[in-house]
Symmetry: C2
Subunit: 379 residues, 2 copies
């Protein structure tokens, strides 16, 4: 927990992200490393042109990414691990790290473990049944598959259904973690339920599952939003005690919501474009979004807008304008008042609409593929 929510300031925990996010402060407080130009150059040698999410520092922080590259350059493969807590529908903010993870899978040929933590969401959300979170897990898996992961190299772990191996590995991890550690890392309390206190051991399992199955140590890289970092801090402390490599991480920022400040959050549906929204619904949400524009068209033409605080601009930046030159034009046309907000919104809405139509087509096709992706118990 970075700061207290009541102060209306930055809060970044695995279960809550709110306030204005200061990413440099997160690097300092979480003790991670910034992804610097030197590291980017090194990645570029393997990936060719850098992925927009790296060029734009959407993935901005890491732990041991240089070590992963050392291993890879030394001829060792590594596994990728990311996941999703299925507490509701997927929005396009969730897709960002998945799209990047798919890129890493394509470039490095890595196997991916994708954990669906239906157990976690059941444990932390008083109103959700396990049946509900499990059904959401299957729904959300359609979005994961729609991103285009290689079915031969991707295993989706449905937590509540993979208990055998999951529990067996988790207790090995749990034996090495005290409640004090969990309390400090996650802000859990004595009034927390014993399921969620145990859960960090479950979330640690996929870091080591490949090593366990292969019977030899396999490096693991976790691309995920930075709010999940407390899990990896705890997992990294335990790893050497179990004879495993510490998992490496690469951390991304949160896609801002369509309101003023804060990340896109499914709990505020109007700030949020879901992957199942129709293009019309998305258009309406974008039309009603907060922007960095001036109160009147006249003022906008005269003084220009402020893209830095504008969710519409952020959408182009994070996902909908991969061409850096075109992005700079969008920025410039806003700053100089050449483009008005309405026009800019409509242009974005068209791109978002096309994206949603395409994603939803793949999402439907995923229904027939889901079995191929599910990790089956293998004790």
């Amino acid at each position: 927990m970075v700061e207290d929510e009541e102060k209306g300031e930055m809060v970044v925990t695995p279960w809550e992200v709110s306030g204005e996010i200061d990413y440099e402060r997160l690097i300092e407080e979480f003790g991670t490393q910034p992804i610097d130009d030197q590291l980017l150059e090194r990645i570029k040698k393997h990936t060719g042109e850098l992925h927009p999410q790296l060029r734009r520092r959407i993935f901005f922080s890491h732990r041991d990414l240089d070590w992963i590259l050392d291993m890879y350059e030394g001829g060792r493969s590594f596994v990728l691990y990311t996941g999703r807590g299925p507490s509701g529908p997927v929005h396009i903010g969730h897709l960002i790290p998945w799209i990047f993870t798919k890129h890493l899978q394509d470039v490095f040929g890595s196997k991916l473990y994708f954990q669906m933590t239906d157990d976690e969401k059941f444990l932390v959300k008083p109103e959700l049944t396990l049946e509900k979170t499990n059904s959401l897990a299957y729904d959300n898996a359609l979005d994961v598959i729609a991103v285009g992961f290689n079915p031969k190299k991707t295993k989706i772990i449905m937590d509540s259904e993979s208990g055998g191996i999951l529990y067996k590995l988790a207790i090995r991890i749990a034996k090495r973690i005290t409640f004090s550690t969990i309390k400090a890392a996650f802000g859990l309390e004595e009034s927390s339920n014993i399921g969620i206190i145990f859960f960090p051991a479950i979330q640690a399992v996929p870091c080591f599952i490949e090593s366990h199955l292969e019977g030899e140590n396999v490096p693991c890289l976790i691309p995920a939003a930075i709010d999940q970092d407390p899990y990896w801090r705890v997992t990294r402390d335990v790893a050497p005690k179990l004879g495993y490599y510490k998992p490496a991480q690469i951390h991304c920022k949160f896609l801002p919501g369509l309101g003023k400040g804060g990340k896109m959050s499914a709990s505020m549906p109007e700030t949020c474009i879901f992957t199942t929204d129709t293009p019309e619904e998305a258009k309406k949400k974008l039309w009603n979004a907060f922007t960095g524009g001036r109160p009147t068209a006249k003022e906008q033409r005269l003084h220009g807008g402020n893209p830095t605080i504008c969710p519409i601009y952020h959408y182009y930046y994070y996902l909908f304008e991969p061409d850096d030159k075109r992005l700079e034009e969008i920025r410039w046309e806003c700053r100089t008042g050449k483009t008005l907000c309405g026009e800019c919104k409509l242009r974005l809405a068209e791109r978002v609409g096309r994206f949603l139509t395409e994603h939803q087509k793949k999402r439907e096709e995923a229904r027939d593929k889901i079995e191929e992706y599910i990790f089956k118990i293998k004790d």
Copy 2:
């Protein structure tokens, strides 16, 4: 935890039993009910002659046993549930509740779930690996089967191998239990590992597994030593919140060790007759045992011995002299100095030797039957 170990007084927790046990005080402090004459009469109607362990108040305390009889008399069957934490070899003290549980199975025709908590023992014993506790679980299962449980009605749950259904049910239970509750019930602390903090949810599962599998509420009766009671207190609080009946219990005393005071404990092998000891080893341990006798034969003949504090007498009482009249003779012959300790020990050693030979034969036969008993994952 009943009293602090450092004071050298009674300690009764699921992980430690030491000091002089005051069973009446346990009834009071744990808030259970004594098994009174009226309840015994009621049981007798179903069992014919009362089992020695009931007549002798070895099973001395209960919760809701009257309710179990209400249900049974109303035509409802109930399941039995007991278990074993496999941290070492089985000694004859462990057999006492199992022998009684077999009696209940025979008389009431009940299905039995027997939980082997190899996960718990791994989590609480720093020196034990999961491979070791799992291998002990299989070894100890031979003793369970040797007791003669009906293979058609008995399922042995190997915790670390039944993760699927076990974890799925455990998290439903865990969501309803806070760390505060566990801390108060078990004396766990912030330095406790998160696996053992979660474990009470795992130990609760077999109470509800039949209801879960049958899709209707099935009463459950737990015959076990009273040190396990904190688990059932916690489980009983949770049960109605999950729509299940509270599990009923019937509690037994601990077979005293061969030393002075305290229960038979595998951690003090000289006080302890293991089921795999040879008759000669057992004879030697009995010969070296503490007794209630006088320092010299002369004094013993003159003043008599004290069976109340004598482990040798306790062995007759708990297990090796089912005939009440003969038991009373043994007592009388001790009190009056008619029998000397050596003679009494040799007579017991002969009975124990016969018992061990027979048990070990059944134990070997159990190797071919074990698969029949193991609970298989059925989600």
